[in-house]
Amino acid sequence: MKAPVSWIREYVALPDDLSVDDLTAKLTMLGLKLESITTPADAITGPLVVGKVLTIDKEPQKNGKVISWCTVDVGDANGTGEPQGIICGAHNFEVGDLVVVCLPGAVLPGNFEISARKTYGHISAGMICSERELGLGDDHAGIIVLPADAGAPGTDAFDVLGLDDPVIEFEINPDRAYALSLRGIAREAALGFGVPFTDPADREAPAPNGDGYSVIVDDPVGCPVFAARLVTGFDPTAPTPGWMAKRLEQAGMRSISLAVDITNYVMLELGRPIHGYDADKLAGPLRIRRAEQGESLVTLDGARRTLSPQDLVVTDDSGPIGLGGVMGGDATEMSEKSTRILVEAAHWDATSMFRTGKRHRVTSEAGKRNERGVDPQVVAVAADRVVELLVELGGATADAGVTLVGEAPAQPVTRIDYDLPARITGMAIESEDVVSILQAVGCRVDADADGVDVTPPSWRPDITDPYDLVEEVARVVGYDHVPSVLPPAPSGRGYTQAQKLRRRVGLTLAGAGFTELITYPFVGVADWEKLGFAEDDARRQTLWMANPLNAEEPQLTTTLLPGILRALGRNVGRGNDDVALFEHSLVFLPSGTESAPILGVERRPTEEEWAAITKAVPNQPLHLAVAIAGQRESAGWWGDGRVAGWSDAIGAVRDVARTLGVDLTVRAAAVAPWHPGRCAELRVGNAVIGYAGELHPKVCQAYGLPARSAAAEVDLEVLIEHAVEVVAGPRFSSYPVAKEDVALLVDASVPAADVEAALRDGAGELLEAIRLFDVYTGDQVGEGKKSLAFALRFRAPDRTLKEGEAAAARDAAIAVAAQATGAVQR
C-alpha cells in the first residue's frame, strides 16, 4: 500500500515540521510495516517542465524503428520561448497533449544527465519522459501524458507530478486490513501523535428509497450489505483532474479514465472496493447469489472463468455479470462511451472472497481488500462518495433512487480484565490506560470493577479475542517499553544422546577429511537412471510433490546419493579434484495410504486422532552418505599419493561406527549404484544399515566423476540406536605379549573377514588381537589364490605364557581356518 504523505496529512492534523522519517517510525511502532519511502525529486535535478506537443513527424529509420521528431512548447523554460525540438521513441501521444519535458542540464535518476545531442539527423534538445525515467514506476510502455489541466507549458513539473511529495509504501499485515486505505493510515497517524483525525467516511449518505436500481440478495451471508446508485448524463470524455491522476500515480495505480479513476480513488481513500457498471448494458435487476454448476463468466481481464457453486456472483437477466467482490465482468464493463453508470458498493464475506480469489488465481486490488475484511459500515457512504465525484467531475446527474440491501453485522463484544495486558506483556499498564487506549483505537468500552466489555470499531474485524485487545493496548503503550527479563531457569536435561552423537559423527568425519554439505531433496526419474536403479528398485518408490519447483524433479528422495553425487561432480567440474563429502539428512520413505486427518482446533486431539496423525506422517529416517573422488592422500615430497577408492568409503563408515562404539559387519554385495565387485553390505547385528564401495563406472560417467570414485550410504538412526551408551572400563593384562604371524593361502573368492573370523574362533581365549597386515596375489601363490598375512597377539590375563603356548594357540587357529575356509599355511 503506497500512501503519499500529502494525502495522509489531509485527514490528520500532523505538525507541519514532522519529518517523514518520524512519521514512519511512529507508524512502524504501531504495526504498519515500512517497505520504503520514495521521494522522486531526490533523484532528479531540473529543469523538468510541462510541455505542449506542437508537431509530431514520424520518421522511419533504417533499423526498422520509427522515431517521432517533435516540437514542444515549453514556454519560457528554455530561455528562448521557441519550441523545443526533441526526438522521442514513444508513440502514445498526440499533438496538443501535455507531456513532461526534461531540458538539457537536467539529471534523472541513475545520474542520467540530459544534454542536447545529435541523433537521427536532428538535434534533440531534451527528453519527453516516461514514468520509469523519472523513477515513478516501471511503466516504460510510453511517455507520461498529463491531464489537460496540468498547467501551462513551461510550468515546473515537480509539483504537477508530486515529485516532492514523499510516498510511503507499507507492507500491511492481514490483521491491519483497514490500513489498505488512506483513511486507515491517517487514523493510525492520528493515534500515534494524539492529534485530531478527520474521517473521510464521516458523511451522510442519502437514505435508501424504493426508487433505486432493483437488487436482490439471495445470499445475505456472502453479501451482507449491497448499495447501488445510478448516475446519468455522465460525460465519458471528461478528463481526470490532475490532482486525482497524480494521487493515483503516487499510489501505484495508472490513470485510465475518469469513471474508473474515481472508483479506484474512492477505494484508496476509504478502503472500500467499488464496481461501476455501464447501466445500459444491464438487463433487469441485479441478483447476488452463489454460482450454479456449469455457469461461466468472462472477467474484466478477458479470461473466461468456469464458476464454482461456491463463488459469489452478481447476475442480471443475462446470467453472471461479475465475480462479486473479486472482479467485474467484461460484458457490463464501463467504456469510453458509458453515460449511465450504476455504482456498486458491497460488503462481502471475507472467507468467500479468499476462496474465490484462490480458486480462480485472481489477485486484484478489490479482492485483496475484500478478502482481508473491509469496514462494513462504509458501504452506502462509499457509493455516495463515488456519485459525488462522478457528478462533480463528470457532469453526471445523481439519480434520486438509492438502493441499500442488508445491514452491517454487529461487532462481537470481547471482555478482558484490567490486568490482562500487564500480565501478558510484562509492562506496567494501569486500568485507566487500558480504557483510554482501547477508546483511542476506536473501541466502545463498557468498564466495570474488574475489566471491560469491548466492542471493537467496525473497521477492525480482526479483533475477536482478548489477546487481540492486549496487542492493541501493547502497541499503543509501545513495544519498546517491554522490559527484558530472563525467564526462570528450567531444569533441562541437555542434549539427547542422539543429538550428541550426531555432532560426534560430524566431527569424526570432518576429522577424517570429509566436508559436510546440504543438498536439496528434490529428485526425478533422471536421477534414478543416472544411479542405474532398476525399475523395481524400492528406492524409486517415493513421495511426490503436487507442486514441484521443477517438473523434472517432482519426487522427494529416498536416498542421499543423488544429491551428494551431483555435488561431487560439481566439485570435480570446478577443479576441486580431490574431494571428500558427507551429508547427514532425513530421507523420505513413501507412506501408507492413510491421510493425515484435519482435526478441529477447539481442543487437544484425542489419543486416536493423534495416533492417526503420527501414523500418516511418512517415515523419515536420518541417513548418512559419504562420497569421495580423486586422491585421498596427496602425492608430495614424501612420496606417492593414494587414489581414493572403495575402501575409503567403507572406512568412513567404519570410523563412524567406531566413534559410536558399534560393531559393524562388512559383507560383499552387488547393489546399484556400486561396482558389483566392489560393493559392501554393512550390517549392525542382523540389520542391513547400508552399502558402501566403489561406484559403478557408468555412474561415475553419468555424474562426471573420475573412475574409482566411491560412496557410502547408511541409516544413521540405526547406527546411533546401537551406539554404546556406557563404555565398560577395560581390564588388561600387564604380562608379556607373544606375537605370532600367520600367512594363509586361500581361494581368491574367500572373504578375508571369514578367514579372520575363523582364526579368531580357533585361537581361543589367549588371543588378544588379530590384524590382517598383508594380502598377496601373484605368481608365487598361483592363479585364483591369495595369501593373507595376519599378525596375532597372545596374552594371558594372569601369567606369562609358557614356551610353546602361543604357537599352539596359533596352530589351533590355523586348523579352524583350514577347516572353515580351506586355508593352507604358507
Binding site: 499485515n173 492481514p174 490483521d175 479468499f354 501478558i424 506483556t425 489477546y467 492486549v470 513495544y479 519498546d480 517491554v482 522490559p483 530472563l486 525467564p487 526462570p488 528450567p490 533441562g492 541437555g494 539427547t496 560430524g506 568425519l509 570432518a510 576429522g511 577429511g513 566436508t515 559436510e516 554439505l517 536439496y520 513421495l543 511426490w544 510433490m545 503436487a546 507442486n547 522427494l556 551428494i564 555435488a567 570446478r574 576441486n576 571428500a580 563429502l581 532425513l586 523420505f588 492413510e594 491421510s595 493425515a596 484435519i598 482435526l599 478441529g600 482446533v601 477447539e602 487437544r604 486431539p605 500418516a616 506422517v617 523419515q620 592422500e633 596427496s634 608430495g636 615430497w637 614424501w638
Partner: protein, 365 residues
C-alpha cells in the same frame, strides 16, 4: 707406600710399586683424554682396562704377593682402576654428546616443506551455527526438540491457528504432497515442532527447535526452496513478553557480544498474539554512525525474525489450558544469520556443496 712389615720380604714385586701403578694410571688417563672419538675411546678402553692391560696384569700380580703386601697393593691398583674407569665414563659421555650433536646436525630437514598429506574436512556452517545457537539455549536449561520435514497439514497450519482460509497461508508458498487428500506438506516453518512438543510434553516447556524448512521459492542469491529456521517455545506459568525479550537479548548478546540487544516492532503471526518482529542492534556498527554500514545498510538494526506471545488458540488446540499457562515463541532464519554474520553474499553457495564454501568454517563457528 707400604707400611711397617713385620714379616719383611726383601723382594718387592716390581709391577706393584707405587710409582709404576701411578704411571700405568697416568698413561691410561692421558690416552683417555686424547681419544678423539668413540672408536678411539673404545680402543683406549681395551688397551687400558682390558684383560691384557697393564693395570689388569698388575691386579693379577696381587695374588702373588705375600699376604702382608696384598692389601696395600690391592688398594693401590683398585684406586688406579677406579680413576681410569671414571675418566672413561666421563670421556664416553662427552664424546657421545659430541657425536649426537653432530648426528643431529646431519639430520637437519627443511621444516618449511608442506605437510598436507591428507585433505582437511569441515562441517557445514549451517550445522555448526545451528549448534552454536542451541548451545546458548541448552546452557539456559532449555532442550532441543525436533520434528519431521514432511508434516501433517494440521500440524503445519491448523494447530497453529492457520485454518484453511487463513490469509497467512497465502503468505507461505507451500510444497504440497500428492495426493492432496493425504494432507501432507513439506513443513513451511519449524513451528509444527511447537505443536508436537506441546502435544507430547507437559509444561513447563522450554525448547528450541532448529531445522530445515521448505517453501516454493526459486533459488537466487537470497532465496532458497530449502532453508533453516530456529524456533523457541516457552510455556510456563506467568510467562510474559518480557521473558521473550529477556531470552532474545541473552541470545543476541551471547552470540554477538555485550550490548547487542533486540527491539520489537508490532507485527502479525497467526500463532502469536501479540506478535512482533524482532531486530537486533547491528553488531558491526552498533547503531552508531551507521550510514556507511554495509551489514545493516545504514539502519543500525538487523531484522532477525518474528516472535510473540503464544496465541491461546494454539495452546487450546494443543491441550494446554491458557487460563493456567502462558507462553512465548520466536523464530528466525539460520541461513540469514549465517549470511549477515559471516558476510556470505550468495545463498546458492550454502546449498551447492562446493567444498570451498564449508572448509574455512572448520568444525565450530
Amino acid at each position: 707406600m707400604s707400611g711397617p712389615n713385620s714379616e719383611y720380604d726383601p723382594v718387592e714385586v716390581t709391577p706393584l710399586r707405587a710409582d709404576q701403578v701411578e704411571a700405568m694410571r697416568d698413561a691410561a688417563l692421558a690416552a683417555i683424554s686424547d681419544a678423539a672419538d668413540l672408536d678411539a675411546l673404545k680402543q683406549v678402553r681395551i688397551d687400558h682396562t682390558g684383560d691384557r692391560s697393564p693395570l689388569a696384569l698388575a691386579k693379577r700380580e696381587i695374588g702373588a704377593l705375600p699376604p702382608q703386601a696384598r692389601k696395600e697393593a690391592g688398594q693401590r691398583v683398585g684406586q688406579a682402576r677406579g680413576a681410569v674407569n671414571k675418566a672413561l665414563g666421563e670421556r664416553q659421555g662427552v664424546l657421545e654428546a659430541e657425536h649426537e650433536e653432530r648426528m643431529l646436525v646431519t639430520e637437519t630437514v627443511d621444516v618449511t616443506l608442506p605437510t598436507d598429506r591428507s585433505q582437511r574436512g569441515a562441517r557445514h556452517p549451517i550445522t555448526t551455527l545451528s549448534e552454536r545457537l542451541t548451545d546458548i539455549f541448552v546452557a539456559m536449561g532449555w532442550e532441543v526438540a525436533e520434528g519431521p520435514w514432511v508434516e501433517a497439514e494440521w500440524l503445519n497450519f491448523d494447530a497453529l491457528n492457520m485454518g484453511e482460509d487463513h490469509p497467512a497461508r497465502t503468505m507461505q508458498d507451500t510444497f504440497w504432497l500428492e495426493p492432496s487428500k493425504a494432507a501432507l506438506v513439506l513443513r513451511t516453518h519449524t513451528s509444527p515442532v511447537q505443536a508436537r512438543t506441546m502435544l507430547t510434553r507437559e509444561p513447563p516447556i522450554y525448547v528450541v527447535c532448529p531445522g530445515r524448512v521448505y517453501r516454493t521459492d526459486e533459488i537466487d542469491a537470497t532465496h532458497s526452496p530449502v532453508f533453516h529456521q530456529i524456533e523457541g517455545l516457552v510455556v510456563d506459568k506467568g510467562i510474559t513478553m518480557a521473558h521473550l525479550k529477556g531470552s532474545l537479548d541473552h541470545m543476541t548478546e551471547a552470540m554477538f557480544g555485550e550490548g547487542i540487544s533486540t527491539r520489537f516492532r508490532p507485527s502479525y503471526f497467526p500463532f502469536t498474539e501479540p506478535s512482533a518482529e524482532m531486530d537486533m542492534v547491528c553488531f558491526v556498527c552498533r547503531g552508531e554512525n551507521s550510514e556507511d554500514c554495509r551489514t545493516c545498510r545504514g539502519e543500525g538494526w538487523i531484522e532477525l525474525g518474528g516472535c510473540g506471545v503464544v496465541n491461546p488458540r494454539v495452546l487450546i488446540s494443543c491441550g494446554i489450558d491458557p487460563e493456567v499457562y502462558t507462553g512465548f515463541a520466536f523464530g528466525f532464519g539460520i541461513d540469514r544469520m549465517l549470511m549477515f554474520r559471516h558476510n556470505v553474499a550468495d545463498l546458492r553457495d550454502v546449498f551447492e556443496g562446493d567444498v570451498r564454501f564449508a572448509q574455512p568454517f572448520g568444525v565450530e563457528i
